[in-house]
């Protein structure tokens, strides 16, 4: 019998770990552990995990550049988990909270900025999830694929705005996620500027 490689096992462990929040919600659902307003808890926690994976996924590149490259190979998995939790978040809102009452849902999307923004973030996330396979990268071509997947930056900002707009008073968590995103973006801009300088420097040095 051949053992799976260590690399494969780590991958599996990360995959299962990312499913744990979902498993614990399912468990809580069936054991009456979701509190007095279970629907609110489901919407909130699936949204929380969606934004955590999204913001966390956006940190992978800056982390790699400062020398911690281990998470880089899980980038696609993290991104797809963000999509997974966002789908659960949206489904809970549409099916359980709203009971698929279409006039009410359409009204919400048109009238409530935080829902408009949340829906926009979801719609933008769909093509990214759909083009996450290696085959799709080949079909699109690397450059176009990268350009498309830059959408994740505005999606991250929309997600934080969505969260910020819905809280009644305590904006601690939206601010934390927003700050992490801002640090990540600032780092990227700095890196970009550094690389530009290098290229310019290289051009000047050319005889």
């Amino acid at each position: 019998m051949t053992w799976p490689s260590r690399r494969r096992l780590v991958w599996l462990a990360v995959f299962i770990a990312c499913l744990l929040p979902f498993a614990s919600l399912v468990w809580a659902f069936f054991t009456d552990g979701l509190g007095s307003d279970p629907v609110e808890t489901l919407i909130r926690s699936t949204g929380d995990w969606g934004i955590r994976f999204l913001v966390g996924g956006l940190m992978i590149t800056p982390l790699r550049q400062i020398g911690w490259s281990a998470p880089a190979r899980f980038r696609r998995m993290i991104g797809l988990y963000a999509f997974f939790y966002v789908c659960l978040h949206l489904t809970t809102y549409l099916v359980i909270d709203q009971g698929l009452d279409m006039p009410s849902i359409v009204g919400d999307i048109l009238k409530r900025p935080y829902i408009t923004i949340g829906m926009l973030a979801f719609v933008l996330l769909v093509p990214l999830a759909a083009t996450s396979t290696a085959a799709m990268v080949r079909r699109l071509g690397g450059k176009r694929w990268i350009a498309l997947h830059r959408l994740v930056y505005p999606i991250g900002m929309l997600a934080v705005a969505h969260y910020y707009l819905l809280v009644k008073a305590d904006i601690t968590w939206p601010l934390i996620y927003g700050t992490i995103l801002a640090i990540g973006f600032a780092w990227r801009l700095k890196e970009l500027a550094r690389r530009r300088r290098q290229i310019v420097g290289a051009n000047v040095a050319r005889p």
Partner: protein
């Protein structure tokens, strides 16, 4: 091979027995403290009659939900925070200052304030501005009885209620979201309305701290944040008093804050609500279902303007 591998922990490294036992008693002590926080001052049964003004035909929200799902920012902003932290609140002795435009301004010991009143059970719907609702069997008495006794002057047009603000007992006061102390207010006719009560209990026993012990306002046709908790001062004023949520966000929380499915919160719809214990939303009723009793108070008023 793992089996039979000699232990590499020296006997000297093992925690001595007395220290180990000490740690256990410390943990037991911590456990007792934790329990103390979960079950603060034992609820005392109250003597009361059932009021004909109670709402009928509704299923009562379980006590557990009423006492663990609370907005009481003085004890933290999470719904579970008040049940965790309100055990610290000391509700005896308790003094209520009644002042402003009254003939007999005075500080009342809570017992003296309650002595002349007959307690009654009032079952009311509670609708939170956030879009959820409960049905609560309050025990209390009409606010009008306190007002009549205080003797407001002809200048008294509004009543202001102030919640205790004691940093030693309420850690949430260090949070910057509201201008402390928490204040709420009613127009005089709203305050005198027979449905408006001061509650001292629920489910037949004294109020749990997280529900606003020892004395809280209940105005069933208004959003829950109008129900000032742990009241230390009732002041009569000539002009409309400033209120906590209105100061924090005037576009979203008006002075009146009557439950109204036709006037949305700027960020979310108020047309429907989720009754705690149910899954999908149900329609919200005008004035929370008390329109027959209270709509005359607002005759001719533009409720979109005076939200």
């Amino acid at each position: 091979m793992l089996i039979g591998k000699p232990s590499d922990i020296k006997p000297s490294e093992i925690t001595p027995r007395d220290l180990y036992l000490g740690r256990r008693s410390f943990l037991a002590g911590a456990g007792a403290l934790g329990l103390g926080a979960a079950f603060p001052a034992a609820a005392a049964p109250l003597t009361f009659t059932k009021s004909p003004l109670s709402t009928t035909g509704e299923t009562l929200t379980p006590l557990k939900d009423i006492t663990t799902y609370n907005n009481y920012y003085e004890f933290g902003t999470d719904k579970a925070d008040p049940a965790k932290h309100a055990g610290k609140l000391k509700t005896t002795p308790w003094t209520v200052k009644i002042d402003g435009e009254v003939e007999k301004p005075a500080d009342y010991a809570l017992e003296d304030l309650l002595k002349p009143v007959a307690l009654e059970e009032r079952i009311y719907r509670l609708r939170c501005v956030e879009g959820w609702s409960m049905v609560i069997p309050w025990v209390g008495f009409p606010l009008s009885e306190v007002i009549k006794r205080a003797g407001p002057t002809s200048k008294a047009k509004f009543v202001e209620f102030t919640t205790l603000a004691d940093k030693d007992q309420m850690w949430g006061l260090s949070l910057p979201y509201l201008a402390w102390p928490y204040r709420e207010g009613l127009r005089m006719d709203e305050a005198m309305h027979p449905l408006t009560i001061l509650a001292v209990g629920l489910y037949g026993e004294t109020l749990p701290n997280q529900n606003g012990a020892p004395l809280r306002l209940v105005v069933p046709w208004k959003y829950g944040f109008k129900y000032a908790k742990s009241i230390v001062r009732i002041r009569f004023t000539e002009t409309q008093p400033a209120t906590a949520w209105n100061m924090a966000n005037p576009e979203e929380y008006g002075f009146y804050s009557n439950v109204n499915p036709a006037v949305d919160h700027p960020r979310w719809s108020q047309a429907r609500e989720r009754r705690i214990g149910e899954f999908s939303r149900r329609p919200t009723l005008m004035f929370n279902g008390y329109a027959d009793q209270v709509s005359s108070l607002y005759f001719g008023m533009d409720l979109k303007k005076y939200y």
